[in-house]
């Protein structure tokens, strides 16, 4: 059992306690704690390469699949912490608690990824949610931040309640909380029985709750407010790590536990995906606040992912994995740039704060140009390939009309990405813009990767193909 001490989650958990102690004694030297945190992340990421795998069928899974996902997650956390540290140091609100709370949330996401039972899933989601409540309310001076925290807390608690209700229905009618056991009982169920009806109710409740956590329409109301209210560094975290984790939960729940009733949930997911794309694209048109804009953009991106899952084909599965990786990379880059810039000594809030950036900071302007065009799905950037894969999967499953609506929505959404580019390149400067960072190596790598992966898309393609093959071994 000793070897289990070295799984990434345990390393992180022990690390969190060490950091709390270290920070207590080194209040003046916060950078020591910060570097310690990053070291712990690296050690933890290193251990995702371990070949000590834990049995798949039990409640907690340590397989190559989850290890790769966790590696991506930890890499993302590393980049987010890098941005956060710079941002908070500049705003003089750097507190190491911020990182320890984030790390707790990251442990929660890892538990969600590894969970093979509904109870374990619930534990992971709660751990994540609790730390997010604290992070969103972290900016105590801002009333928007407190409002966002309370709003997320109330709605999050309600959605957890719905999740628990769904879990209890599933447990009550199948007698099990393990994904594989649920799949077994669904396999032998009589379609006309009461149990069947109960299970369907349970699945719908769980779907609603997970869609809330994902931020998909029609459960998306909280997303813009919470994105706007929290610190930009929290927004980065919110828009990447939980999305990856919830996505994996979606895959495992639907493709393992509920595979036998796919006719029930696949239409639901396609509907939710379509609605998210439409709402995300249209509502973003009038947004002036850049965080709200990116929030709606996130909703529409989530729509693409859910739509691809809803196809229930191998191709759709791969497309959704591809889209998730690309979306996370793009979100990291686009929010990351905003953490690096400031207008009149406060952070960037409105799109108009960016006016004339191309004249004062041409380098940052090019970075934003790349991320926005990638998000709009313009080739040769990686965002195009992600959208291409989803649309090709739709067409191959004969959803031509849906594909048509989706591409028309991408044209609409191109408008607001272009609006950002227009503000940066064509408008005149209204406010003094400064960057508070000389070293933007990580940001540059992050952004340039959008171009390079767009030119050599097979790199991500092969990774997702491998992940898909690993996952289908589990799900059979």
């Amino acid at each position: 059992m000793l070897e289990l001490l070295f799984i990434p989650e345990i390393i992180l958990s022990i690390g969190i306690m060490v950091i709390i102690l270290v920070d207590l004694f080194l209040q003046k030297y916060k950078y020591v704690s910060y570097y310690l945190i990053q070291t712990i992340l690296i050690i933890s990421a290193y251990h995702t390469f371990s070949d000590k795998l834990y049995p798949i069928y039990s409640a907690y899974e340590l397989s190559e699949f989850t290890n790769i996902i966790k590696f991506i997650l930890l890499l993302g956390s590393f980049i987010i912490f890098h941005y956060t540290y710079k941002h908070l140091s500049y705003l003089k609100t750097l507190r190491i608690e911020y990182f320890t709370i984030s790390l707790l949330g990251i442990v929660g996401t890892m538990i969600m990824i590894s969970a093979n039972s509904l109870l374990m899933l619930y534990l992971g989601i709660e751990l994540l949610s609790l730390s997010l409540y604290a992070l969103i309310g972290f900016n105590k001076e801002s009333s928007l931040s407190s409002e966002a925290a309370i709003k997320y807390y109330v709605l999050g608690a309600m959605s957890s309640g719905i999740l628990l209700f769904g879990i209890s229905l599933i447990y009550g009618f199948t007698g099990s909380i393990n994904y594989f056991d649920i799949a077994d009982s669904l396999n032998n169920i009589n379609i006309n029985s009461v149990e069947y009806l109960g299970i369907i109710f349970g699945v719908i409740f769980i779907t609603a709750s997970l869609c809330f956590k994902f931020g998909a329409a029609p459960f998306h109301m909280w997303v813009p407010d919470i994105y706007q209210g929290s610190l930009i560094s929290t927004t980065i975290l919110l828009s990447t790590l939980p999305k990856i984790a919830v996505f994996i939960v979606f895959l495992k729940l639907y493709f393992i536990a509920f595979m036998d009733i796919k006719h029930i949930w696949s239409d639901v997911l396609i509907f939710v995906g379509m609605l998210s794309i439409i709402i995300g694209s249209i509502f973003a048109l009038t947004q002036e606040n850049i965080k709200r804009l990116l929030a709606y953009s996130a909703i529409s991106n989530i729509g693409f992912i859910i739509l691809a899952i809803g196809l229930v084909t191998n191709e759709g599965l791969q497309a959704s994995l591809y889209y998730t990786i690309v979306y996370s990379l793009t979100a990291l880059a686009s929010f990351g740039i905003i953490t690096h810039i400031t207008a009149n000594s406060h952070g960037i809030e409105n799109i108009s704060d960016l006016a004339g950036l191309a004249k004062t900071h041409p380098y940052f302007a090019i970075l934003i140009l790349i991320t926005m065009l990638s998000a709009a799905g313009i080739p040769p950037l990686i965002g195009f390939h992600a959208k291409l894969m989803v649309i090709q999967a739709l067409i191959n499953s004969s959803y031509i009309a849906i594909a048509l609506i989706v591409v028309l929505m991408t044209v609409i959404s191109a408008y607001y990405y272009l609006k950002v580019i227009k503000t940066i390149y064509f408008d005149d400067r209204v406010e003094l813009i400064a960057t508070f960072s000389n070293n933007h190596l990580v940001l540059s790598i992050n952004t340039v990767s959008l171009v390079l992966l767009g030119l050599f898309p097979y790199l991500v393609f092969n990774l997702t193909k491998y992940l898909t093959s690993l996952f289908s071994v589990i799900s059979i």
Binding site: P379, Q392, I400, L404, V407, L418, Y425, Y458, K465
Partner: protein, 500 residues
């Protein structure tokens, strides 16, 4: 055959140098101009070399480069050329070289980035004309929007924000419809290679929908009559070189796409709907000519004249559908006429936009009423401009005549009315072209010299070279016929084999 990747070279050399120019901010204007001039010259020489070693008696694709790009999806980095591609590649390289000469005396803020975007545009255009994998084609086709968007948006006129976003969204809308069709075709054929789409067995409904999507996608790019409104806006706001590249090469991408995709893939539906599409082209030719006559702004006038001239291109292409089976030789003439009209319009419209740019530089106005009597102050320039205006109206002996003549001949093969209506354009285009000449060049202007001085040497070179080429193609069009004959005849016989 050669064993070095000449097409990749043509694509990536300008793109890489362009990126370097954009990133290096502190480079001087002269150095940036010199680098651009050298690069475009080098690309031009290479494309002439390509033209020389291109074997126009062979019917298969040449200089093929095929590497797997996305292995799991069967998407290839697949470049090749046929006669159509070679002629458009030559046009692209030539026009970009002229732009580099012309821009060397112009003064822009952040000029190295300006020239860098043009080089990127050149590379992407080369890629568009030589890609034979549909996704690769789409990637190049769509990427074209980015540099042009920035060129017009950063260096454009007062109303540029509106014009750029309109242009971008219009073309994006068309191209996503095209993307859907491509993906559908790929879904059926299991391959993304364009040539594999040709032999697909599609039902009539499928073909009709795909035809509609292609018609909207490429029709916006060309542009055809009801969806042309982005073009005058974009032209008016674009800087001179931006207008030149837009009119002379970017519009041709639409025509190229129609010939490459629409003709062979959706032949059956095309034959069925050909009459309606011919009506659209005729509306473009006649109605837009009247619209052009009514314009006050010279740039808008030439922009509308471009739409009218591109009407001949679409007319030539749609005539192929109409004539297939009944009169194959007229179909061949129509398609060749369409292609030659593309090349010739590329030269003439470029020349006219250069001329308007020169006038604007002196008088700071593009309105016809603000400019008059230029001939007294700029005699050489006026001589050249009146020549281009004549060529624009299809004067025999200039290249403008050849394409229109061929298309009109071919339409007579279909019906007398079509030929008659198409031929009215010769009258209409002469009237609006000469209106510009009469007022702007020969108006009465004894007292009011608005600072007109004879154009600079590099501008004279640009316009002079264009005169030579327009005359050369007008007097000996055989050069282009040689290049195109095999490609066109093969294509026509291929599509008539499959459908008659």
């Amino acid at each position: 055959m050669i064993d070095y990747p000449i097409l990749s070279f043509l694509i990536w050399l300008p793109i890489i140098i362009g990126l370097v120019l954009i990133i290096s901010n502190d480079i001087t204007k002269n150095a940036a101009s010199a680098i651009t001039l050298l690069t475009t010259f080098f690309v031009f020489v290479t494309s002439i070399h390509l033209f020389n070693i291109y074997d126009y008696t062979a019917s298969q694709l040449q200089f093929t480069e095929k590497i797997q790009w996305i292995s799991g999806l069967n998407i290839f980095y697949y470049l090749a050329v046929d006669g159509l591609s070679v002629s458009l590649i030559l046009l692209t390289a030539f026009i970009n070289f002229l732009i580099a000469i012309f821009a060397s005396s112009e003064d822009y803020k952040n000029k190295s980035a300006y020239l860098g975007y043009f080089l990127i545009l050149e590379g992407l255009l080369m890629g568009t004309f030589s890609a034979f994998d549909s996704i690769l084609f789409y990637v190049f086709f769509e990427s074209l929007l980015i540099p042009l968007f920035l060129i017009i948006g950063i260096w454009g006129g007062a109303n540029r924000k509106y014009a750029t976003i309109k242009f971008f969204l219009y073309t994006l809308f068309g191209s996503v419809l095209m993307l859907i069709s491509i993906l559908y075709l790929a879904h059926i054929s299991g391959s993304y290679a364009i040539q594999d789409f040709y032999s697909l067995d599609l039902s009539f409904e499928e073909e009709a929908l795909i035809l509609l999507a292609f018609l909207i996608g490429f029709g916006i790019k060309i542009p055809m009559w009801p969806v042309h409104t982005w073009l005058p806006d974009a032209h008016v706001e674009a800087p001179t070189s931006g207008s030149v590249i837009l009119a002379s090469v970017l519009l041709k991408v639409g025509g190229y796409g129609m010939i490459r995709f629409m003709l062979p893939v959706t032949t059956e539906a095309g034959i069925y709907f050909s009459e309606y599409m011919i009506y659209l082209s005729l509306i473009a030719i006649i109605y837009i000519s009247f619209v052009a006559y009514a314009q006050e702004d010279m740039k808008k006038l030439i922009a509308y004249s471009s739409v009218a001239h591109m009407g001949f291109v679409t007319l030539g292409i749609f005539l192929v559908f109409n004539l297939l089976g009944n009169n194959t030789s007229a179909a061949i003439i129509g398609l060749e006429g369409a292609i030659i009209q593309m090349i010739s319009h590329g030269l003439i419209s470029a020349a006219l936009f250069f001329c308007i740019g020169i006038i604007y530089k002196h008088s700071k106005s593009r309105l016809i009423k603000d400019n008059f009597g230029i001939a007294q102050f700029m005699p050489i320039f006026s001589f050249m401009m009146i020549f281009f205006l004549m060529a624009n109206s299809g004067l025999p002996g200039t290249s403008g005549f050849v394409g229109e003549f061929l298309v009109i001949t071919s339409s007579l093969g279909s019906s007398f009315i079509f030929g008659f209506l198409a031929a009215t354009s010769l009258l209409l285009s002469a009237s609006y072209s000469l209106k510009v000449g009469k007022n702007v060049l020969f108006g009465d202007n004894l007292h009011n010299n608005q600072g007109y001085i004879e154009c600079e040497n590099n501008e004279k070179i640009v316009l002079g070279v264009l005169i030579i080429f327009i005359l050369y193609l007008g007097i000996t069009p055989g050069l282009l016929f040689n290049l195109l004959d095999k490609t066109v005849i093969d294509m026509i016989s291929f599509i008539s084999l499959g459908n008659i």
